[in-house]
Symmetry: C2
Subunit: 144 residues, 2 copies
DNA sequence: TGTTATATTGTAATGATTACATATTATACT
DNA sequence: AGTATAATATGTAATCATTACAATATAACA
């Protein structure tokens, strides 16, 4: 399911929502709510932060966006809701996609009575940029 | 590395820290800072929330505790720092351990230049208790 | 026992997210 | 086109987890 697919049938379209959707479509940067707000604001300086959160909630309810808890400081959003995994930089928190179908089946016993609905693999490490500048400035968030 | 192993050589021992360590040792419930605070408070009613956070930070620095971002509402802490994975209930947020060594190797190309330091598999689903009461009360956190 | 670096405490500050009341507007129906 | 109305946007305030800070207390060691 693409984020824009049949979306105008599902929600009332507004300029703000259109701008948010345009920003999200095909976006692989896993932006935070603030990233979205700051970007959309360039074109729509009057947009409210609350509108960004409201729209994200709406898109989540429609399964057009996936919320990631992978970053310990803020929620990140992924317009690609197809099954895939992630690699995160411990320093700048840049997140990139990994499209590999790992064998992650577990037995009923191993599932300890849980009904499993989805699986997610997180790889943690250092991105190329942060590895180079490792000993200099630390803790700087990604601003690509 | 066990959480208590040689710990008195590493940090200044205090009654508060001893109580926190005692609570954490062998604990598989993946408590939040508040869970720790509430439990330790029964024995040490004067303990401060800040002390819990400070101690957790110290233990993280010593690699005696692992911080989990798996719960979208609060950080959770795991005194078992050995490699293992987790299964979380989408409803009550109960987290259980999975000790399976999944094949998660990826090529250098797949790693996109990242240096990978650790891997973590998250399984999401419903715990047995929440599955039973699915249609009644929702969103209730685990209080085991 | 005294010294001192380190830890604890209470409180205030921060930062992300949510709640709420009011104003605006997209959509559908004359 | 004009109007009604339910949904949406906005600004502000509230909430909640976590962190910062300054004053007080204490574990470790001589
Ligand atoms: Mn992704
Ligand atoms: Mn665990
Ligand atoms: Zn990086
Ligand atoms: Zn549950």
């Amino acid at each position: 399911m693409k984020i824009l697919e049949n979306i105008e049938k599902k929600i009332k379209m507004t300029p703000q929502r259109a701008a948010i959707l345009k920003y999200l479509e095909g976006n692989t940067s896993h932006p935070s709510a603030e990233d979205i707000f700051e970007s959309v604001r360039k074109k729509y300086p009057m947009i409210s932060f609350t509108t960004v959160y409201n729209t994200l909630q709406t898109l989540k309810d429609l399964d057009r966006v996936r919320e990631l808890n992978i970053d310990d400081e803020r929620k990140r959003y992924d317009p690609n809701v197809n099954l895939h995994h992630h690699l995160i930089c411990n320093n700048c928190k840049k997140i990139v996609d990994i499209f590999i179908d790992f064998p992650l089946d577990i037995s009923e016993e191993e599932a300890q009575g849980y009904t499993i609905s989805c699986r997610h693999v997180e790889f943690y490490g250092l991105c190329p940029k942060c590895r180079k500048t490792k000993n200099k400035g630390q803790g700087n968030r990604n601003r690509d």
